[in-house]
Symmetry: C2
Subunit: 211 residues, 2 copies
């Protein structure tokens, strides 16, 4: 059976990563989110088990000790992790899995699963990133400075990613993301495991060629 | 300046390769054909210097001796070759170049230019391939058998190609081809050499972050 691919998507806060990932799951068949575990508090509207698995620090540490995570990291003071068995099950069912994670997590995934496909979303400029974060208005200035400080470090990692999308206009960026996904599904390994069987491409008993 | 990529496209006769390559050049910006040299006679409507450079065996052998070809091969009794300097110039101008060549040529290109992106077009089935070749009606049965004999050998090489497109419905196959091209243009190396300069992603003198 055709095995899915793991798509690792990273971006600095404000680059539009969450929007793009949601669009992918909504509009492209065969995509699922890997739901991360986190110790941070749910934001209004976030659902446990759908947006994240919200766990305590103690529960998280227990899973780390059990080596249950494909990657985990502390980001902006909170712990985030991706459950290995969950991802593996989704992939083996032929689903493509999105990991929406930061650059530290992406490095761990790449070392454990070298076949992962990595995509970095960039804002069109530093100025645009500042404006987007300031416009959100949901956080105090100190937190925004921390996010920008992290963004500065994260952007330096872009060259370690296979693909890079500049999110200036959302529909253009989404088009590029869809193309990346489509292209990965056109990789020979996947096509021969799924869409077509090489046996159909050899002359059968009714073949004119063999007559 | 952003350097283009070399796309090597192979397929058995009757898989629809020529149609797909023409659509790519017509409908996607920044694509050019690498015009091959050949010793075969022009078909009705083919233009020298556009479809092929039609040369004699002697001229072809002279170019081979000068190592002017990135690849060359004898196919169905005729010689075909790709001129190295021409391709290099197109790539350095930022164009993506299509090489519409057979599997022997593709192997030579891959060994000389490991960065080449290779795509194989498959028919949906052996039966479909036979039907398409027999329907063309432009060739005698013996020639068609030779083409099918070659097809059988060529299809075995599909797993050496990066991408594989099953050309069942033309518009679907073309969509997949466009996605492959778009995805390759989203490779980080290309994006950072063309679409965006990392300097724009660092805080400038007017940055709020640095204030």
């Amino acid at each position: 059976m055709e095995r899915g691919d793991l798509f690792v998507i990273s971006a600095p806060s404000g680059a539009g990563k969450s929007t793009l990932c949601s669009m992918l799951v909504e509009k492209v068949d065969g995509f699922v989110f890997s739901v991360s575990h986190t110790t941070r508090s749910p934001r209004p509207g976030e659902v446990d088990g759908k947006d994240y698995f919200f766990v305590s620090e103690q529960e998280f540490e227990k899973l780390v000790a059990e080596d249950a995570f494909i990657e985990w990291a502390r980001v902006h003071g909170n712990l985030y992790g991706t459950h290995r068995a969950q991802v593996m099950e989704q992939l083996s069912m032929g689903m493509d899995v999105i990991l929406d994670i930061d650059v530290q997590g992406a490095k761990q995934v790449k070392s454990k699963l070298p076949g992962a496909i990595t995509i970095f979303i960039l804002p069109p400029s530093w100025q645009a990133l500042e404006e987007r974060l300031l416009k959100r208005g949901s956080e105090d200035r100190k937190k925004i400075k921390t996010r920008l400080q992290n963004a500065l470090k994260e952007i330096e990692e872009v060259s370690n990613y296979h693909y890079c999308i500049v999110n200036d206009e959302l529909h253009v960026a989404f088009g590029e993301l869809k193309s990346i996904v489509s292209a990965e599904r056109s990789k020979t390994r996947r096509v021969l495991a799924g869409k077509i069987d090489l046996a159909r491409l050899r002359p059968g008993p009714d073949s004119w060629f063999l007559s």
